[in-house]
């Protein structure tokens, strides 16, 4: 059976989270020549129909991006015991479900360090998408990284909204970025799905530095993209597709150790990352892997040790 991939509300071409998943699937297609079914969510209420439709049509495995599928998957999965499901960013405890979660705090810590080192004003920004613990986790890791480099640095933080619409509101992203720039921020980390398009556009328009998320977004505004916190959603999708119906279920936690998260360095931002910066960040990465630096995970206790 063909595998299937369902994208969340931000849309397949958000150049970020969903697009990473898409790229993973396309990589699988390129390698195997196989085909897969895909669907973009348009509304909250569609999720169940989408899952059932694919399950009914015999797709296997069915991969979905985003925590918001958690609840419906929990009810749908038992109805199709022979179908394997993969959910990214959420833990669903069902025998036929693989849950993939990432240690975003680790990657965010690294880009936070870079932000602090690149900032001239000592103020850096963070614009999140929907205000949920998951995004707080990004922010908290980022702030820890910033403070690790410059304890005096200020982190300006905004969330775009409280509903999934926050993933797809470039205008609001843009306005929030302008506000942060007014407060002195000269590096802004966008962790907001499609909203990030507006954030990074404004970053480029205003001539400061931005940090992308999930996908490598460095190419979008060369010269203005400090780096991207890559989260290898593409790999998760690719592996799920490759494993096929026989995939192993259960919880998969992906972090720096297995290169599930990291920061992006390529020709587009090579000029912005000095060798010293690279050295410092790579050293920190090693320490995290070795457990010498413990980056706090917001979601363990819904608190963040740094402001």
């Amino acid at each position: 059976a063909d595998p299937a991939l369902i994208f969340d509300l931000g849309g397949k071409f958000d150049k970020s989270f969903n697009e990473a998943a898409f790229n993973g699937a396309e990589k699988w297609v390129a390698e195997t020549g196989g085909s897969y079914k895909q669907l973009e969510m348009q509304s909250e209420a569609q999720r169940e129909q989408a899952l059932r439709r694919f399950a009914e049509s015999g797709a296997n495995p069915i991969v979905m991006t985003g925590f918001a599928f958690g609840d419906v998957l929990n009810t749908v999965a038992p109805d199709y015991p022979d179908t394997k499901f993969v959910i990214i960013d959420m833990v669903v405890d069902q025998p036929n479900v693989r849950s993939v979660v990432f240690q975003e705090e680790q990657g965010s810590y690294l880009v936070g360090m870079l932000a602090a080192m690149a900032s001239k004003t000592g103020t850096v920004g963070f614009v999140g998408g929907m205000d949920i613990p998951l995004i707080r986790k990004f922010e908290c890791g980022y702030a820890q990284g910033v403070k690790a480099v410059n304890p005096e640095a200020k982190v300006v933080m905004n969330m775009t909204g409280t509903t999934p619409a926050a993933w797809n509101d470039p205008v609001k992203g843009s306005e929030l970025t302008k506000a942060q720039i007014a407060q002195g921020a000269d590096v802004v980390y966008a962790a907001a799905g499609s909203t990030g398009l507006g954030i990074l556009q404004t970053v480029a328009d205003e001539g400061i530095l931005g940090i992308g998320v999930d996908s490598n977004q460095n190419y979008m505004h060369p010269g203005h993209m400090l780096t991207s916190m890559v989260k290898r959603v593409d790999l998760s999708v690719y592996e799920a597709f490759k494993d096929g119906p026989a995939l192993e279920t259960g919880l998969v936690v992906s972090g720096l150790k297995d290169e599930g998260v990291g920061y992006a360095l390529d020709e587009y931002n090579a000029d912005l990352i000095t060798p010293e910066m690279k050295a410092a960040v790579d050293a920190a990465a090693e320490k995290i892997k070795a457990g010498e630096i413990a980056v706090h995970d917001y979601m363990t206790d819904n608190t963040c040790p740094v402001e």
């Binding site: 849309g11 071409f13 205008v171 306005e175 302008k178 506000a179 007014a182 398009l197 556009q201 328009d205």
Partner: protein
């Protein structure tokens, strides 16, 4: 809220208020001529898509603007046909065209670019970039006014200034020209215009065309100025807010400016719950802020804050012989 924050919010107000202002003035022409137009939203959406798509392919924001106006005019024409020529229900026509626009924009953008109903991001000449007003550098140092001039008034795209210019222009057209006199008359009492030997139909079509042009600019502003490209449903109800502002403004141009800027301010402040919390020392739920323009409009409609009397012949097709 400190002054710098206020400046920031006001700048944001102007950016967010501009599409409202253009759409509101668009509605003003139509409704002053006696044609209700619920379809401002749909026209803006069509224009946003068309301008985004054409700007992306041609690389010129100006050609994009033209395409946006054209697309909006197309919808305005259908609305005119339904409500003027075929004397249909103006409200239903507007509602219907909004749905058509919702569907058609995504359909077309998806077909052209295959990016989930989005147009590619625009950059360079495909976007209207901010322009600095003269003397920003020198004036910026002036305490108080300097930052206001530099951050609130200056540094917007040309379309913002066009929108602002449209206010006195509309006022002048409406109250100082023959066309304006007739336009106002046809919305109040089309028989008076007819018996004065002026064609009601032609006047109303002219108004509908003006509405199309202004909605076109509003939509193009969304896609080529406020944002860099079109995204599905990107107007997000702004056409309805503009309608609300129009009622709030009691169908007058200067009041339309204040009303749309008020609603723009509400939108700007809704983006900054942190500022509100810091200013009012209490947490106001964001949904409440989002709903505020609509709540205000209902209060105005209820006639508790001065009655809003729409043009008397509004909404009714002109029928001489039963």
């Amino acid at each position: 809220m400190d002054y710098a924050t206020l400046i920031e919010v006001l700048g944001s107000t102007l950016r967010l208020g501009t599409p409202l202002l253009l759409a509101c003035l668009a509605g003003l022409f139509s409704e002053r001529a006696g044609i209700f137009d619920i379809g401002l939203e749909g026209k803006m959406l069509m224009a946003a898509m068309a301008s985004g798509a054409v700007a992306a392919t041609t690389g010129s924001a100006w050609i994009g603007l033209g395409a946006g106006i054209f697309a909006s005019l197309l919808f305005a024409g259908v609305h005119g046909l339904a409500s003027i020529t075929f004397r249909g229900n103006q409200l239903i026509s507007g509602v219907a065209l909004n749905f058509v626009a919702s569907g058609a924009t995504v359909l077309i953008a998806q077909t052209l670019f295959g990016q989930g109903g989005r147009t590619p991001p625009l950059s360079g000449a495909a976007r209207f970039s901010p322009i600095q007003l003269p003397g920003v550098e020198t004036l910026a140092a002036v305490p108080g006014f300097g930052p206001f001039y530099a951050k609130v008034l200056s540094g917007h795209s040309i379309l913002v200034y066009i929108a602002l210019l449209c206010v006195p222009l509309t006022w002048w057209l409406l109250y100082r020209t023959r066309f304006g006199l007739r336009l106002r008359a046809v919305g109040e009492n089309p028989e008076s215009v007819d018996t004065a030997g002026v064609s009601v139909i032609r006047l109303r079509y002219t108004a509908v065309v003006l509405t199309g042009v202004l909605c076109g600019i509003a939509g193009a502003y969304m896609a080529t100025s406020l944002q860099a490209g079109f995204g599905r449903e990107m107007t997000a109800g702004r056409g309805y807010i503009a309608l609300a502002a129009l009622i709030f403004a009691k169908w007058r141009p200067w009041q339309a400016l204040w009303a749309t800027m008020l609603f723009g301010f509400l939108q700007a402040i809704a983006l900054r719950p942190d500022v509100i919390e810091g200013t009012l020392h209490m947490k106001i739920p964001v949904p409440a802020l989002d709903a505020l323009p609509y709540i205000l409009t209902v209060i105005v409609l209820a006639g508790f804050v001065g009655r809003a009397i729409p043009p008397r012949a509004g909404g009714q097709p002109y029928v001489k012989e039963r």
